[in-house]
Amino acid sequence: MRHAPLRIAVVYPDLLGTYGDGGNGLVLARRAERRGIEAELLQATSDRILPRADLYTLGGGEDAPQVQACEGLGESVLADAVSEGAVVLAVCAGYQILGTTFPTADGVQVPGLGLLEVTTRKGPGRRAVGEVVVEAAIPGVGRLTGFENHGGLSALSPRLRALGTVVSGVGNGHGTDGAWAGHLVGTYLHGPVLARNPALADLLLSWATGSDGLDPLDDRREEELRAERLHAALSHRGGRRWWHRG
């Protein structure tokens, strides 16, 4: 079912593009191309029907556009693609959309797409803003570094696995961040998360291509960035301005 070239769609960059997460699509496309895997990067704006793709990325956005995005995505292309094995990376507002319910700016709960059994509610305190470190539960991914900026607390159903355990920061708000089911990954990490964590990018690519053995790439720059950010977060120089415990 995989397309040739590999199709990577950045979902609704006009609504879910506030926090630079469109970079995740670019990272995936370039990492595929560097290995000789032809890739097509689509900017799937909300004024068109969502195209079929092998890999979708969703990013963070403001409150009103988040609701609009969810309405647009309700028209099933994404759900169909997922049921046929498409890979999805969803960040922040995009992650909340994949869940069963999330709050609007006024605190009203609205239904999400229900692709992940995650319930997001408005947190009691201030927004969680700052560097995050997560120990990923998926084998081979290791530590994740990112920057979070959200006011939601996300509760996972007991059947659903978190993406990982929070070492520093807030994430879902219960000591974990994100969710992971089949080929779906949700997280609160911006950065963009795949620019800072090439192992996660390669995991998504291996799912999308069905290939276990992707050639290693020269990731010197990414590794330097990772080391710097992990150190900053864990030594609390990383600019955590505030956080609440969920």
Binding site: P13, G20, G23, A64, Q68, V129, F147, R221, L225, G239
Partner: protein, 414 residues
């Protein structure tokens, strides 16, 4: 002046003198804060009897404030918060440090515009643009536009506003008197959702509209840009050449907005354009300084909209470029927005990633297909860029975000 405000003015002057004398700062904020603490309503009192003009928006405030101050300088003395201290403390310090009655041109942080309207009772207001800035602050630009709209409904000022930016139009349209100017807006990603109804805005050429009827107002001043020369074309048929010493299409369009505000305050367009043309640098921006022995053009861009405009300035030609990024509180702690900047346009020329977040810049450039080197120290970065560009191409172009730019200025760029 009330005794309280008088005392506050004295205190402000003393603290600012001390602060400058001790080399602690540029001496505009600390004193102003104290002044406001002593006389919370002193700002309104200090503004009374003056002709006050305000300049607000996400990008170009400091430069446009300098341009407008130069234009109004044709008519008499003008005081300004020229160091960019654009919140009430900075306004207090600027006004406290000048004779009563002196005209004032003040840059205003976009979030503080409503409060500043109340206190300063301006005669003219220039509204430039609104776009994402400092991602970690979650100050949605849409919200800012809404607050402008509420506050501007109550102003009697002559408002000059950018017709090309839907968020500015939404914010300004409630004012009684608006001169719409084709002020330009290369960056449209924050204006896709209609601020009036939430539906999608359609952009066709220069024009834009939403199904709900919200649309670009017909500008009273259009701007014609040709490869050589920019002309302001007024609805009444007058035409003015806009030539500045500082570079950039965005600066010329901002100058046209300043020209309109100056005209509303009684300065003829020819005179204000001539005065603005003499400005060669603003708080170090656009200036050519010697950095580590290398003549370098210093440019400031702090968000994707600003970068989009500045890449236009540096991309003709092949001069070496330094991209310097910090992520301190004043910059916003999250530099993820680097991925919204089309750095791909720098491919093929010598580029050096710099600043405290040079590792982020380096990864971004890598995925943009831009070969580059990395030097965190900005002076070392300039020297390296000059070496990489030794075979011609021109002066090193240093583009930094807020504190990275300030660091280079402070590092003795003479």
């Amino acid at each position: 002046m009330s005794l309280r405000t008088g005392a506050a003015v004295q205190a402000t002057a003393t603290v600012n003198r001390l602060s400058r004398g001790l080399g602690l700062g540029r001496g505009t904020v600390a004193g102003g804060r104290l002044g406001l603490a002593i006389a919370p309503r002193g700002l309104a009192e200090l503004a009374m009897g003056r002709s006050v003009a305000l300049v607000s928006g996400t990008n170009g405030k400091t430069t446009t404030t300098a341009l407008l101050a130069a234009a109004l300088g044709e008519r008499g003395a003008v005081v300004s918060n020229s160091t960019g201290s654009n919140m009430p403390a900075g306004h207090f310090a600027a006004l406290a440090g000048s004779q009563r009655g002196t005209a004032a041109v003040l840059e205003v942080d976009e979030a503080y515009l409503p409060a500043s309207l109340e206190a300063l009772r301006p005669a003219a207001i220039v509204l430039l643009n609104l776009s994402r800035d400092q991602l970690d602050r979650s100050n949605e630009v849409r919200m800012v536009a809404g607050r402008w709209r509420e506050a501007l409904a109550r102003t009697e000022a002559s408002v000059v506003a950018n017709a090309d930016d839907p968020l500015v139009v939404y914010g300004a349209a409630s004012a009684a008197s608006v001169v719409w100017v084709a002020g330009g807006a290369r960056w449209r990603a924050d204006a896709v959702g209609c601020p009036a109804c939430g539906e999608r805005i359609t952009f066709v050429g220069d024009s834009w509209s939403c199904r709900c009827g919200f649309a670009r107002p017909t500008p009273r001043i259009n701007v014609e840009e040709r490869p050589i020369g920019t002309t302001a074309v007024l609805a009444d048929g007058r035409r003015f050449e806009v030539a500045l010493s500082i570079p950039g299409s965005f600066n010329r369009r901002n100058a046209v907005m300043a020209m309109a505000a100056a005209e509303a305050l009684g300065v003829p367009a020819e005179a204000s354009l001539a005065a603005m043309a003499r400005i060669e640098a603003v708080a170090g921006r656009f200036s050519v300084r010697v950095v580590g022995g290398i003549p370098t053009r210093l440019l400031l861009a702090k968000n994707p909209a600003g970068w989009e405009e500045l890449l236009d300035v540096v991309t003709p030609g092949s001069a070496p470029v330094v991209v310097a990024i910090n992520a301190r509180i004043a910059d916003g702690r999250d530099p993820s927005w680097l991925w919204d900047v089309p750095f791909e346009r720098l491919a093929g020329r010598p580029v050096v990633a710099s600043g405290e977040r040079s590792a982020d810049v380096s990864v971004r450039l890598h995925y943009a297909g831009v070969d580059h080197q990395r030097r965190a120290d900005p002076v070392e970065a300039v020297v390296l860029a000059a070496r990489l560009g030794a075979d011609g191409g021109g002066k090193v172009q240093f583009i930094g975000n807020y504190t990275a730019f300030g660091d280079l200025l402070g590092a003795g760029a003479a």
